[in-house]
């Protein structure tokens, strides 16, 4: 596989030739190299490790890939991020108030950037990402992120280490 070959395969898009026109929940209307596509869904191939990469899909068809969507013009970027925030909705844990075992599961009471929440997990629920961030997956399959476990207060850290 040679470098130039790859780029053709991937349909890499030049951010200067991409404009996001409108954002609706999980869809955008986007203009790519002069052509307008409606009902386009952006997807992140690496939601945790390279969140800046975005691939545009219309139904099953791949329209192209942005290596770094943050290089779009400010208006487009803002619109795209609005959609990404919905597709990749993920509360950030700010504080853990308590973890206790309840009916074979663990009950977590936490404060997130989206507000306080109580959720239940199985015992193996924490995933450590390469960069040190943590993901907590609850019994319903929802995921909560701990951006910087070291920066949490000591009590929260104690609860986390208990569950790891």
């Amino acid at each position: 596989m040679h470098a130039d070959n790859i780029l053709r395969e991937l349909k890499m898009l030049d951010p200067r030739h991409v404009r996001v026109l409108e954002a609706r929940l999980d869809e955008v209307d986007v203009e790519i190299e002069g052509r307008v596509y409606c009902g386009v869904r952006p997807r992140r191939p690496f939601p945790y490790s390279y969140p800046e990469i975005v691939i545009f899909y219309r139904d099953e068809e791949e329209l192209g890939m942005l290596r770094d969507y943050r290089k779009l013009d400010p208006r487009s970027r803002e619109l795209l991020e609005r959609v990404l925030r919905i597709i990749y909705f993920m509360p950030r844990v700010k504080k853990i108030l308590g973890v206790r075992s309840a009916k074979g599961k663990y009950e977590w009471r936490v404060v997130t950037d989206k507000g306080p929440v109580t959720f239940y997990t199985w015992s193996r629920c924490i995933r450590l990402l390469r960069d040190g961030r943590l993901l907590i997956r609850d019994a319903d399959g929802r995921v909560y992120m701990v951006e910087d476990p070291e920066k949490l207060d000591s009590k929260s850290r104690l609860y986390l280490s208990m569950m790891m």
Binding site: I6, E9, P45, F46, Y48, I53, M65
Partner: protein
């Protein structure tokens, strides 16, 4: 028959004293005995024959020489196995010859012998090399067999933590000794203060001493706990690390030899056993010995006669526990059998739920289960009754001797021969004396158990990687040319999976490897990657012997995708990046696209960051295959080996992947193993293997014309397809 467990039926390089007598006269000048294997049958009767391999001949002895053949006349040795017996046979210049019959207890021994013979006659391995390897093995085995040597070796392994070990023992002994002081203080209290009502100032002194002893004891206890925890972790981690890194070094052939479960249990269970021993029993040996010495001396000083009485119940208790152990095995084994029956019913009812329910067998199962529960209950009660028969009797012996001590001692106190304080101290020490005695007996048993575990660990540590990189091996930029010359290979030393394979692949050539299952295709490609060392023959890349090429260099440039690939328990992205650790995300996506994996990956919410689960269990077989293919393609390898790349794919994806493969393999040396011959439509040459040999070679049409094995395989597949389409057509008419 069968002999004891240690008797493995074969002796390598026996010293002359161990040779069967008639043999000694038969040996010629310069003839050396390589191995003597003993059969356990003579015809259809139990008996013994010696099969002797020397560097020149193979001899069979039964009291006298029965058969002999020079090695130069043997073409190959083999084993045939039946229900209970096996026969060793030779192919010789004078035709086939069955040499000896033996029961399966000796199979291992004769497998070894056959492998040795074949190494010499088929492998043409120089005798001097073989001898060197074998002597090393003999020495290691001898060392493992002596449990003293094993324990010494274990201690040697633990040398770096010797100071810690010593400190733990010293502190623990000190703690026990401090524990001995209070009864002595009580004696002084009774004799010099309480009974005489004098020396009132001593009361305070003794009380303070008791307090001090207690404080020292608490401090030592904490220190002891700290040290033993540290020791505990240090011992286990050191051993585990050693075994684990050895596992990483081993050749794949070792993994084949041990089942994965047994290797697993060596890293985990055996190390645990040693850990328990080192921290639970090893220091206790010293502690108990010290306690017995100190308390014993104190008892004798206090009163030798009473000491003799106090010792009486010990032999009774030892006898009792010996009887107990013998009988307990029966009762507990029965209990355990009953319990496993319960477990097996539950597991059947759950694992085969669909079967049980579809046949309406629930009532039967309920009944069986309740019966087993009752049986278990009965067995449990029997165990209780049995326990009641032994221990009270032993207890009675102790009570009797205790009463005897009070009686005799009491008489002596009354007659003034002994002080009251001494008697009280004596009885306290007496009870303290029993514990270390029995504990020491237990320690000896756990010492034996630890030696067994250590032995199993050393067995792994002693393995030598079979695929050894030569010290002067070098990096080589591969051009893509591969050559196999006269490859012979066996996994078990008995059955040869490859029998003289010769194959030459030009740079950039695409080869299809076909043949019935077990014909040696997968073995051949594993050898190409130098995962195994062939017993005979050479593999060359661009004319360079594979043993002269650095393994890292080879693995960077040759990619292999195995059938039913297993993934690591990490993300999809990282599994693909096994192909190249520094790959950019774009390259990962491109490789996945080429392997037709991208679209299913993008349908997962976490896409490339999805964790695949242990062994890749969260993906389907076809998905795993495509991820593994992406990893191989990411390497951009000079040589690509695909073992049934499309086996786990559905017909549609297979078509897509085949198309993609055709494009990707253009100009790249490629070997594709395939059962579905349609995958092979773009290869330059088809190589047909059967029973470890290459039987046909050529282009697809040419092979069809020739009408050999390839044509048969092709027609069988075609027939399957026609039957399917015929069925489809007739179904169409029926509608």
């Amino acid at each position: 028959m069968g002999g004891d467990e240690d008797d493995d039926g074969i002796k390598l390089y026996p010293s002359s004293g161990e040779l069967p007598p008639p043999l000694r006269e038969l040996l010629e000048e310069g003839e050396e005995v390589v191995a003597v294997a003993r059969s356990d049958l003579v015809g259809d009767e139990y008996g013994e024959k010696h099969v002797v391999l020397t560097n020149k001949r193979l001899l069979v002895l039964n009291e006298r020489l029965e058969y002999e053949v020079p090695l130069s006349k043997i073409t190959m040795a083999s084993l045939r196995s039946y229900i209970n017996t096996c026969v060793m046979a030779l192919d010789t210049d004078e035709g086939p010859k069955s040499v000896v019959v033996f029961t399966k207890a000796r199979l291992k021994a004769f497998e070894n012998l056959v492998s040795l013979i074949n190494n010499l006659v088929v492998g043409k391995i120089p005798y001097s090399l073989l001898k060197r390897q074998l002597l090393k093995r003999v020495k290691a085995e001898a060392e493992r067999k002596s449990s003293k040597a094993v324990l010494l070796r274990l201690l040697g392994l633990l040398k770096p933590i010797a100071p810690l070990l010593a400190a733990t023992i010293v502190v623990a002994v000190a703690m026990r000794l401090v524990n001995l002081i209070p009864p002595y203080l009580m004696k002084i209290l009774v004799d010099e203060v309480l009974t005489t009502r004098a020396h009132v100032e001593k009361l305070a002194q003794i009380a303070l001493s008791l307090l001090a002893v207690n404080l020292v004891n608490t401090a030592l206890g904490t220190l002891n706990g700290y040290l033993s925890t540290k020791l505990n972790v240090a011992v286990a981690n050191r051993l585990r690390y050693k075994v684990f890194s050895k596992l990483q070094e081993l050749s794949l052939s070792h993994y084949d030899r041990f089942t994965s479960g047994s290797l697993f249990s060596r890293v985990i269970d055996d190390v645990n056993r040693i850990q328990w021993f080192m921290t639970g029993s090893f220091n206790m040996i010293f502690i108990n010995a010290a306690m017995i010495a100190f308390i014993g001396a104190t008892l004798v000083t206090l009163n030798p006669w009473l000491t003799a009485i106090a010792l009486l119940p010990i032999p009774i208790a030892i006898l009792g526990s010996a009887i107990y152990r013998r009988l307990a095995a029966r009762y507990y084994h029965r209990l355990w059998r009953r319990w496993s029956r319960i477990v097996s019913i539950v597991s059947d009812a759950i694992n085969a739920a669909i079967l049980v329910k579809s046949f309406g067998k629930e009532p039967t199962f309920r009944e069986k289960f309740s019966e087993s529960l009752e049986e278990y209950e009965r067995a449990q009660m029997d165990v209780f009754k049995f326990e009641q028969e032994i221990w009270p009797a032993v207890g009675l012996a102790f009570t009797a001797s205790n009463i005897l001590v009070w009686w005799m001692g009491g008489l002596q106190v009354l007659s003034g021969a002994m002080s009251l304080g001494s008697l009280m101290a004596f009885t306290s020490y007496m009870w303290m004396f029993y514990t270390p005695v029995f504990s020491l007996l237990e320690n000896v048993k756990s010492l034996q158990r630890a030696a067994v575990a250590a032995n199993r660990i050393f067995e792994v540590l002693d393995l030598e990687p079979e695929v050894e990189e030569r010290p002067h091996a070098r990096d080589l930029e591969l051009g893509g040319e591969v050559e196999c010359e006269n490859l012979w290979f066996t996994y078990d030393g008995v059955h040869y999976a490859l029998k003289g394979v010769n194959l030459r692949i030009r740079a950039g050539e695409r080869i299809g490897l076909v043949g019935p299952s077990g014909s040696g295709k997968t073995t051949l490609v594993k050898l190409l990657l130098h995962l195994y060392e062939p017993q005979v023959g050479t593999i060359r890349y661009d004319g360079v012997d594979v043993r002269e090429i650095k393994s890292s260099s080879l693995k960077r440039q040759v990619a292999i995708v195995l059938q039913n690939p297993i993934l690591l328990d990490t993300t999809i992205a990282e599994n693909i990046m096994l192909g190249r650790e520094d790959a950019s995300p774009e390259e990962v996506i491109a490789a996945a696209k080429a392997a037709r994996a991208h679209s299913f990956i993008m349908r997962l919410p976490e896409a490339y960051d999805t964790e695949v689960g242990s062994r890749g269990s969260r993906l389907s077989g076809g998905e795993r295959a495509r991820v593994a293919l992406a990893a191989a393609l990411l390497k951009n390898p000079k040589i690509l080996i695909l073992d049934e790349p499309t086996a786990a794919l559905d017909a549609l994806t297979e078509e897509e992947v085949t198309e993609e493969l055709e494009r990707l393999t253009k100009g790249r040396t490629t070997i594709i193993i395939a059962h579905r011959l349609s995958t092979l439509r773009f290869v330059d040459r088809v190589v047909v293997m059967d029973e470890g040999k290459i039987v046909e070679e050529g282009a697809h049409e040419e092979l069809l014309r020739r009408g050999g094995l390839y044509k048969k395989l092709w027609e069988a597949q075609l027939k399957g397809l026609t039957r399917m389409s015929a069925a489809a057509v007739s179904e169409g008419y029926a509608r």
